[in-house]
Amino acid sequence: MNTIIQNILVFTALILAVMFIVKTYIWSPKKKKTKACGGDDNCGCH
């Protein structure tokens, strides 16, 4: 029983950790594409 609970906890922690990493570094909502900065680009630097 103890082994089963411990394994469930480990796999839950693993899934949560993987989801967090994916959400933080891989998946992100797509943003509107704009042209590269430089010249008169209105990037906040001119």
């Binding site: 922690a13 950790a17 704009t34």
Partner: protein
Amino acid sequence: MSKQINVALIGNPNTGKTSVFNALTGLNQKVGNYPGITVEKKEGICKLPRGVKAHIIDLPGTYSLNASSLDENVVIELLLNKNDKDFPDIAVVVSDVENLKRNLLLFTQIKDLEIPTLLVINMADRMSYKGISLDIDYLEEHLQTKIALISTRKNEGINNLKNLIANLKDLPIKPCLNASEIDQDYFDNLRKAFPNQLLYKLWLVITQDVNFGKTDRNEIGAVANFKTKSKADLKRLQQKETIKRYQFINNVLKKGQTIDISQAKDLRTKLDRILTHKVWGYTIFFVILLTIFQAIYDWSSIPMDFIDTVFASLSEWTKNMLPSGAFTNLLAEGIIPGLGGIVIFIPQIAFLFLFIAVLEESGYMSRVVFLMDRVMRRFGLSGKSVVPLISGTACAIPAIMATRNIESWKERLITILVTPFTTCSARLPVYLIIISLVIPEGRFLGLSYQALTLMLLYLIGFGTAVISAYILNKILKIKSKTFFVIEMPNYKLPMFKNVALTVIEKTKSFVFGAGKIILAISIVLWFLASYGPGEQFNNAETIVKAEYAPQNLNEEDLKQKIASHKLEHSFIGITGRAIEPAIRPLGYDWKIGIAIVSSFAAREVFVGTLATIYSVGSDDEATIKNRMAAEVNPILGGPLFTFASGISLLLFYAFAMQCMSTLAIVKRETNSWKWPVLQLVIMTAFAYIVALIAFQFLK
């Protein structure tokens, strides 16, 4: 009946405007609010010569007529609305003798509204201290005004000011700048469309978010024969206007004002003279840096040892107290050592930010920016690039965002590209653990070798950033101009509250920002190190027992061999072995390889990863440092972390682009994947080559 005139007191913040108001009105004043808004309105009455009475309004401080706040709107709305009962018969612009150039921007704008404008130069008593002398006649002639040189502190020049206000009819109303110079075609069209309006007033109505009597912006836009410009075009014209104004001001002050710093006598100037001196300035900055790094090492050692021991004991306690099983192992071997690898660096990071906050609060940091501008210009950077480069010692992400105030796109791009070379706080844990392993503890002239190495790494990072900037400046074919303007704040004793808040906020963001990802990565790494495919992993115990049967090992050694065999054939071991051929020439084993790969998420993950990998299957309560020191090189034998492999690793981390978040922010700031990809490839390749040379040369 005596005549009453409206006098508007206008000026930049901190010019002593309210002191002038008090000197003119005495007790005849009242304080209220502007109708509808809670911006303070101060009014008073002043008796002037020849029986003239002045109704004086102390307007909120503003740097220019380009409003950016409610306070500044009040000033513009009053100056643009002739129907307002408070519309001034005379505008008195109060300036501060120490910041005349900046103050004159507002003066020239008000003058161009063709309101009789008088210039008050306050704090005249500071002139001798600052080595400033003024040619008042020349200034009056070229600024087309009358000037009152006063000192409210010494109550000097107030009567002359009253006389000048009373004689407002003598003030010329000729503008300083011909508005058409900003854009000939645009202003010609504007003049044709609104022949009865003052051109500069129209320009302000178009560009500012204020009302202008019966003519508002929409009405201007509705006139068929006049075409308004886009917001971006208007912004550019506004910048052109500011540049033209400063060119005018510079020309006037070139002859009208002399500043001889060698004659200055005040403490601030004396300090500035030393701290921004071309030899002493750099020497003092270097000594301050040296002191900081020495203090980081000396002061943090006790709390760091304490934290290290606490986490080792906590791990041991967890294993003993909780029922044995996979989750207990995850806690004791994965999560606790992984987090311990971050918490241990809190004292050093807190001390680093303590020093940075003190330097910023005291006003010294602005001198450093000024000092470094001389160096930066030679390398294609602006003085403003120093701010991101210094902020980069905390984190490259806010530092790259701080480049937004660099006007020139080329200088901004170069700063963005080189900032990741500066030693960020995420590199600190890596540096500290490797330095403590491979650099001896001796001292040279009272400074520890370890502190000197750390400082050297900071200098290498900064030096590489500057040299890269020089190369990029030569390679990148982007044309742009820039101006460097920085206001030197007065020196002051740092406020304890501000320093404490900065230290807490920065440390918290380091621990919690990095902590979450480290926790997640520790869990994944522990899993990958504790599970594996195939016979070699599943039957590790049988294989090892059979292999070592003739040697008759004791139980402890056998356990160690089994753990080591399992780790080698776990998922992480297999991955590590796959990349080992690429990193072996640098002096690293597959465990370091795994740490390098996982620390691509964030550099500080390196230490947490090694702590997790070395803890898997281990029962003793050794600290992270001891476990790393005990690692044996699988090929050469002897310690894995030698001087050669340690230096190679330090240099790899000094140059490699090991940070996903930084790449993401570079992509966002440049709006292109081109620059972050180039950054990643070039920095990593360079780091690999330098680390390879260092190891092969030193081994």
